[in-house]
């Protein structure tokens, strides 16, 4: 694992010498990561800047846009409003853990099939959120999916495609479970 020095981890100009960094062990996409990070490192920054998994995006950094959505123990959360140090012993899944270029996740394929993005910046968060929605198993109709995806904004306005993509995968899951 990459070990960052104390000084580069602080990154806050004008602030007195920060306390030393500590060791935080995270399980990300089934792999153990041992990171040397300061306690104020958010889970989002730990994923992107220290574990170098840049699929998870930083949008607003204030829990308002959902671009940073990841799954923790199967539940979707905003990684920007959580400290990495709060997630030792948790099972973290990012977009990199859902699918790969060679083997797309059904949600990734559905997003392509339904034109569910333009710039793509919100897409990893949308897909992780949709996987969380499917894990919860509570949204089935279009109205329910809209309400349960309301924590993910898309500035390109690809909502119609996103809704169709998520609906398709939700429907296929429920027809699977009926079999």
């Amino acid at each position: 694992m990459i070990q960052q020095s104390t000084t580069s981890a602080a990154g806050a100009g004008g602030v007195a010498a920060p306390p030393p960094t500590g060791t935080v062990r995270l399980t990300i996409n089934g792999q153990q990561h041992t990171l040397q990070i300061a306690p104020w490192t958010t889970l989002l920054d730990a994923l992107r800047e220290y574990a170098h998994l840049t699929g998870t995006k930083k949008g607003c950094d204030h829990g308002q846009c959902g671009a940073c959505t990841v799954l923790v123990n199967g539940k979707r959360i905003n990684s920007c409003l959580s400290l990495a140090v709060m997630h030792e012993d948790h099972d973290i899944t990012t977009i990199e853990g859902l699918g790969s270029q060679e083997n797309l996740h059904p949600l990734q394929q559905a997003f392509i099939d339904h034109d569910a993005f333009q710039c793509g910046y919100c897409t990893p968060g949308q897909i992780c959120s949709a996987q969380g929605l499917i894990n919860e198993g509570r949204a089935h109709t279009e109205e329910e999916i809209k309400e349960h995806m309301s924590g993910n904004l898309c500035r390109c306005g690809a909502y119609a495609g996103i809704l169709n993509a998520v609906k398709e995968v939700v429907d296929s899951k429920s027809s699977e479970s009926r079999r």
Partner: protein
């Protein structure tokens, strides 16, 4: 964020002791509000006591026939809890009306009570704010105040309390259980949050170092006749301009018990017992509801851009009471605001 140290507590006593031993310490549960405030430089703790390993996530029946909600149960786990859905559907609806699924998966019940106002002047450290910097002034009075209070405000502060969950807890007359350096105590929900008065920096009546450990719901849940009506600028993932928690007990068409609390209008969840008394013993008619609504907004005051809230609140109360009397709302897994 400013530098801070972090420890993770595994027992309530350890958390309280660790907090008391650090000057400038704060507790962190889900973190959804305090981390946001720290990024904005509004909150500047020098030490955080992590709570997410404390054994306070249970939701269980009390000997008195009520339900105890652990302070660290998430808002999502609380809303979906079968007992909450069956016995306290008003609470289910209120929780699902707030935030997003992601935030509800993180935010804790204790933290929901402690979230701070979303007044934009409070968040903007370039402007004066008596809540953030006592004595510096109020940017909202005479400024943009569309989201601000119409009831119980002061010349120091017209900020509103932002929670939905707390409006249901006020209507249900919950009790807050706390643990602190001087031991344990309980606080009736109505006495938990404060009006701004001359100390707007204090949102609630917790003493220094006290930690919320749980919320007790009384046995009576108003599971048949209730409504949580939330009015906002967009129909999901937005704070209330006005919200109403209404709960009725009916004997035929006669109201035998009533609860009425409003969100988005005051510095605290605004329960009005005088208005409730105007409902009790009366027929469940639009005229009765209108009298109660008039009572609630009798002392309301607008500050310019929020004047519309007075009429909005009056109408929302009548509508919520009508929905409650009809029994048209039900606990659901999805808050669709599909009210008639």
């Amino acid at each position: 964020m400013n530098p801070f140290t972090y420890t993770s507590a595994t027992a309530v006593e350890d958390a309280v002791r660790d907090n008391a031993s650090h000057e400038g310490a704060a507790y962190i549960g889900g973190g959804t509000n305090i981390l946001d405030l720290m990024k904005e430089n509004v909150a500047r703790p020098t030490h955080l006591v992590g709570l997410n390993k404390l054994p306070l996530t249970a939701i269980e029946s009390t000997p008195e026939g009520g339900l105890r909600l652990g302070a660290l149960a998430t808002n999502a786990d609380t809303a979906w809890n079968e007992e909450v859905k069956r016995r306290y559907p008003l609470l289910n609806q209120a929780i699902l009306a707030g935030a997003s699924p992601q935030l509800r998966n993180m935010a804790t019940n204790g933290g929901n009570l402690l979230q701070r106002t979303r007044c934009y002047y409070f968040y903007d450290t370039a402007t004066p704010c008596n809540k953030r910097e006592p004595g510096s002034g109020c940017g909202a009075i005479g400024g943009f105040n569309r989201i601000h209070a119409i009831l119980g405000a002061s010349e120091q502060c017209i900020a509103t309390h932002p929670s939905d969950m707390c409006i249901a807890l006020a209507a249900l007359a919950a009790t807050v259980r706390v643990s602190g350096p001087d031991g344990e105590r309980t606080i009736p929900f109505e006495d938990f949050h404060r009006l701004p008065g001359n100390t707007p920096e204090r949102d609630n009546n917790l003493e220094a170092g006290e930690l919320i450990t749980g919320l007790d719901l009384p046995a009576k849940g108003f599971e048949k006749n209730f409504s949580y009506l939330k009015l906002r600028d967009r129909n999901s993932y937005a704070f209330a301009l006005v919200s109403v928690a209404a709960a009725l007990e009916l004997d035929g068409d006669t109201i035998t018990d009533a609860r009425l609390a409003l969100g988005g209008v005051a510095h605290k969840p605004w329960r009005d017992q005088e208005a409730e008394n105007l409902l009790k013993g009366q027929p469940a008619t639009p005229e009765t509801f209108a009298r109660a609504a008039a009572k609630v907004v009798e002392s309301a005051q607008g500050y310019g851009s929020n004047n519309f809230k007075i009429e909005l609140a009056r109408r929302a109360i009548v509508r919520a009471l009508k929905q409650a009397a009809e029994g048209s709302q039900h606990a659901s897994d999805v808050f669709l605001n599909s009210n008639p």
